[in-house]
């Protein structure tokens, strides 16, 4: 049970075995994805045919299109990045405003509003997607019927994808930033005001720097969640497919190891992001 109580040998062995099996379960899928990115065969399947970098650097002349020559795939990575940047910027901005609203202001209906702000987290992503799709189409139809204006950004496409992802990612940013603002010692602001600083100067020099770790953290989470989002995006996507949608399409057709290559690329990027965030949170300056 716990270290201070006697544990029989079989229990110790079973615990070690369980941890081993659990880690195997956790890392086996990721390992095979990484390994088969280097297999010299047309499909990511055993047996092992030898090591190759074709799935990264191959071009059409060699008969194998590697990741760095696959314009479609590279394009979709770019699409995902630009969507994620928009979602991150919007979520952090609105999330910060929401945090100040909920922690600093008093107004009627605040309880209802704080409840409403959590609802996007319990609505399945597919339903967020279809509801926004239906509503935006109604608005677009209304615009074209009444004013004769074609509001193309309300039709399925990247602007709608950004709005759809933003609709629930901002709730997470709000939670993260509010939690830190709640712990802020307001006497610091009072001291600065007493010393003659303006409200804007206090916000800029004291409150926002204090919130910085939460803002950076929620920006990283927002970027990652947007990049990986599938459910909401699937319903709102137009002709430009972000990476997850593109990969899904190819996986249904039976794809080449180029998907393994792009996956390995993503894993490395995520690992770098995760490690740098952990380093940040450990450095004493940020606490």
């Amino acid at each position: 049970m716990i270290p201070s109580l006697p544990r029989p040998a079989w229990l110790r062995a079973a615990t070690a075995l369980y941890v081993g099996a659990f880690l195997l379960f956790l890392f086996l899928p990721l390992t095979v994805v990484a390994v088969f990115a280097f297999n010299d065969a047309a499909y990511p399947a055993p047996p092992w045919h030898g090591f190759t970098l074709d799935w990264f650097f191959g071009n059409e002349a060699q008969g194998r299109v590697g990741l760095f020559h696959d314009t479609e795939l590279l394009g979709s990575i770019w699409t995902s990045c630009s969507v994620a940047l928009w979602v991150t910027a919007l979520s952090v901005l609105v999330g910060t405003a929401n945090a100040f609203l909920m922690e600093r202001e008093q107004f009627p209906g605040k309880g209802v509003l704080s409840m409403l702000m959590l609802t996007p987290l319990v609505i399945p992503g597919v339903i967020l997607g279809i509801s926004i799709l239906a509503f935006a189409s109604r608005l677009a139809d209304f615009c074209s019927d009444t004013f004769g204006i074609e509001a193309d950004f309300l039709r399925p496409g990247l602007p709608l994808v950004v709005l759809g992802q933003f609709s629930y990612i901002v709730a997470i940013a709000t939670l993260t930033i509010s939690a830190r603002l709640k712990r802020f010692d307001r006497s610091l602001e009072d001291a600065a005001l007493n010393l003659g600083a303006s409200h804007a100067a206090v916000l800029w020099n004291i409150t926002l720097p204090y919130l910085r770790p939460a803002i950076i953290g929620s920006a990283a989470i927002a970027f990652l969640m947007s990049f990986e989002n599938f459910n909401t995006t699937l319903m709102l996507v137009g002709s430009d497919a972000p990476l997850t949608i593109m990969m899904y399409g190819r996986m249904r057709e039976g794809a080449t190891p180029v998907l393994n290559a792009v996956s390995l690329f993503l894993m490395t990027a995520s690992a770098v992001l995760a490690l740098s965030l952990m380093r940040r949170s450990k450095s004493p300056r940020e606490t």
Binding site: M1, I2, P3, S4, L5, T15, Y18, V19, F22, L26, L28, P29, L30, V33, A45, P46, L93, A97, N98, L101, E105, F107, L113, L116, M117, L118, T119, P120, L121, V122, I123, P124, V126, I127, I130, S131, A134, F135, R138, L163, G164, L175, L224, E228, F230, N231, M235, L243, T244, M247, Y248, M251, R252, N260, S263, L266, M267, S270, A271, A274
Partner: protein
């Protein structure tokens, strides 16, 4: 002299208005109005091109067409099963992280458990496909070991969908469980042990009641995410997946029958909300506390 307080009051109001505007815009334009619109869509029927009448036809179709409600019930049951398995798999590891491992080992184990979830679900599913398909890694190993004579297809079964769903959900169970187990005072367990209680009794009377908030939070979130999942069931279950989100997609995108799709969406939302509500009632917790836990 009376101008200064008046100006201060106005500027406070201005700040409040500026802070309220984005929040209200977000909630109204992206959450409330779209869902009202979806409700309106689901309660109407097309009688002629661009002509609609209010009706319950979409919901009637759901109950009279066996395929639809079969898929619905199946999705709910498989999601519940996946949630239960996730809890059973995650609990021991959460216990080890919170109670058995010390200091650095515990922190390291926790981080290691989180790593796979920094990677996209698409990538993780690709891994399972490479492992499980007929030409994949595990069938080849089974043949090599002489367990099966021919490679067997391990994809496209319900069990495959469950493996994928449990894998995807683990993080959302481990995190709240570790949180609630860490706050359990070891001396309570020691006291129970000294008084003669053994493993099962301690687990039942001390550990589980204490960890109940974490267990509820994990189960609610996992059930919800599983129910709304699309990628894992469709890729690992193939044509046999029969997942309800897939029906919604088919109605909305493939058949362009938005009224029917909207009704399906609402049914899924109702089930999801009901389960969240039930979980909160059973454990006597508040919604906002649960969401902060995860």
């Amino acid at each position: 002299m009376s101008e200064a307080p008046a100006r201060a009051r106005w500027s406070r109001r201005l700040v409040l208005a500026l802070l309220l505007a984005p929040a209200l815009l977000w909630l109204l334009a992206l959450i409330i109005l779209p869902h009202v619109d979806l409700a309106v869509l689901s309660f109407r029927e097309r009688v002629a091109p661009r002509e609609y009448t209010p009706s319950l036809a979409q919901y009637r179709t759901f109950f009279t067409e066996p395929l639809y409600w079969h898929v619905f019930v199946r999705t709910a049951l498989l999601s519940a099963t996946a949630t239960l398995i996730t809890l059973l798999v995650a609990f021991p590891i959460a216990w080890i992280i919170a109670k058995l491992a010390r200091g650095r080992t515990s922190a390291l184990l926790f981080v290691v458990c989180l790593i796979p979830f920094w990677v996209s679900e698409t990538v993780r599913t690709l891994g399972w496909m490479i492992l499980l398909r007929e030409s994949g890694v595990l069938p080849a190993i089974l043949v090599h070991l002489g367990i099966t004579a021919e490679p067997v297809e391990l994809l496209y079964h319900d069990a495959t969908i469950l493996v994928g769903l449990v894998y995807t959900s683990l993080l959302f169970m481990v995190v709240p469980l570790v949180g609630s187990l860490e706050s359990l005072d070891n001396s309570l367990i020691e006291a129970a042990y000294d008084l003669g209680a053994r493993g099962g009794a301690i687990l039942r009377t001390i550990v589980i009641p204490h960890a109940a908030p974490g267990i509820t939070a994990g189960c609610i979130v996992v059930f919800m995410l599983t129910l709304g999942n699309y990628l894992t069931p469709t890729l690992l279950g193939g044509k046999n997946s029969l997942w309800f989100t897939e029906q919604i997609y088919t109605q909305f995108i493939t058949r362009f029958n938005w009224e029917q799709g909207a009704a399906f969406g609402f049914l899924l939302l109702a089930l999801s909300t009901a389960m969240v509500w039930l979980g909160l009632k059973l454990s006597g917790q508040r919604f906002s506390d649960v969401m902060r836990r995860v």
